[in-house]
Amino acid sequence: MESPTKPISYLDYKGEYKGILGWIFSTDHKRVGLLYLYTMLAFFSVGAILGLLMKIQLIAPGYTIMGPQTYNSLFTLHGIIMIFIIVVPGLPAVFGNFFLPIMIGAKDVAFPRINLLSWWLYAVGILIVLTSQFMGDGPPDTGWTFYAPYSFQTATNVLPAVFGAFVMGFSSILTGINFVVTIHRMRAPGMTWFKMPLFPWTLYGTAWIQILATPVIGITLLLIIAERTLGIGFFDPALGGDPILYQHLFWIYSHPAVYIMILPAMGVISEIIPVFSKKTIFGYKAIVLSTMAIAFVGYFVWGHHMFTSGMSGRALFAFSFLTFLVAIPSAIKVFNWVSTMHKGSLDLQTPFYWAVSFLFVFMIGGLTGLVLGSLATNVHLHDTHFVVAHFHFIVFGGTGFAFMGAVHYWFPKMFGRMYDANWANLGWGIFFIGFLALYLPMFYLGIMGMPRRYYDYLPEFHGGNIFSSLGAIVLIAGLMIIFINLVRSARHGTKISEKNPWGGTTLEWQVDTPPTLENFEEIPTITGKPYDYN
């Protein structure tokens, strides 16, 4: 510490604890971010393998490698892992924790201990969810949505899965509170709201959704627990309850949760595109305002998940209309990103590949969302493979691609080492091809009437399913190349100490590589706008 020459990096810093304890008890926002990253890497691998097993089951009609009950519990666990453990904490927990303080010129988040606590709650929640797989009555088979009335009728272990998701909710709320306070109180002098970079802006919108929507799912999950253990009758028609009330409550959270997943992804893309176009971002204010508009309007569209559930006709109309409204700010962003690239000097590097392919899959995901948001087409497509394809394009294609872009963009800063760009590009190419081959046929299968969540299908769906399952294998191959390259490079990649390898203009490219314990020896004063390439 007292070395007068150069403060040591956060990776080399020796605190009170050594080894792994130095990580799981560290309140350094950068280490907390990496804790999340490693946890997610582990569970994402599990979730991806579950997905692969399901696709292998579907490669031919009938029993291939598993029966219906196994298939039901696989898609339930796949959903719980991918939603609650990966994409909901996702970008904010990993890159928000690591880069939000640096990008706004702060030494840490506002409440570092609460930040560590939120990782612990997350880890405990995961453990509770996992117990559901190994207890008496078999793994839950409800799907990640825990729909009533089935969720209080099935004999399987729904309780631990629901309770684990409940605990993870607190982790999400605490992260949200931390980020809102950090952004309000800890911006460097001179960094006014409209001089703040766009990734922090999206984290701000996300944080409010985390604070305000997560309690709704928390209470809803508690109601399921009460319903199962005490038989109160909130959702049981036999006792005067209403199963549709469950769907309302569930989606009041779970639709905004989609924006928890996608807003930070949009923030990452808004960071990557100007840096690799060497051009000032087009329409900074429009991006900021559309972010806040999406965060707000996103609260009032949840009913589009319930078009066939038996809502009133007027509610159907209102929800469909509001859903179409959200498309406007989303499209504004896409236009802004494309305009940023227009006449820029494009630097074709791995993060940029991920960002551009994000635009492609996000457009497909978004536009098919409008097909589902229209009342008439929704009746035909509800609960078919079309829906599965749509949300994988948004959640895996949108958030997943942005996550990969973020990893490849910030990797040198985080680890002080560089990955092998050729392998990274090859991995991206194989992954992208696999992704399209896996999910595009599902649109077709859905339109033809193949329902989701069935382990079996009619013979006429065989062709599309073979294509899709082979795509899954290609995708996993690409994923392995990407992961092996990253994991290997984090330990053995070529060391770099250059502060700004990509030519970025935001603050994280002005601090040391890797950052020092307190990020800044001296808090900078901000005078200009971010993304100034003139």
Partner: protein
């Protein structure tokens, strides 16, 4: 950067607020003896809302904060009411 000042509320104010809250509680109880049908719920919610506002303003010091915090709280309440409205929009037309 911050000029933290703590506002000290005199005991007298605290006690007055306490009595106002007790009177409102009394009203809540009294109203249950009258028959207004569905309006009973509305009145109970209104009184509870007033009480919550008083607690937020005086006991939780929102009244003494700069504009930002009261605005954030108001925004949250409005959002909550809107979500309720949209949900019951479905129920009232079913």
């Amino acid at each position: 950067m911050s000029e933290e000042k703590t506002h000290i509320v005199p005991y007298k104010t605290q006690v007055i607020v306490l009595f106002v809250l007790l009177i409102l509680t009394g009203i809540t109880v009294a109203v249950t003896r009258l028959e207004f049908g569905a309006l009973n719920t509305l009145i109970a919610m209104l009184v509870a809302g007033i009480k919550a506002t008083i607690v937020l303003a005086w006991y939780m010091h929102l009244k003494y904060e700069k504009r930002l915090l009261p605005m954030l709280v108001a925004g949250v309440v409005i959002l909550f009411l809107l979500v309720l409205f949209v949900t019951f929009f479905d129920y009232s037309y079913r």
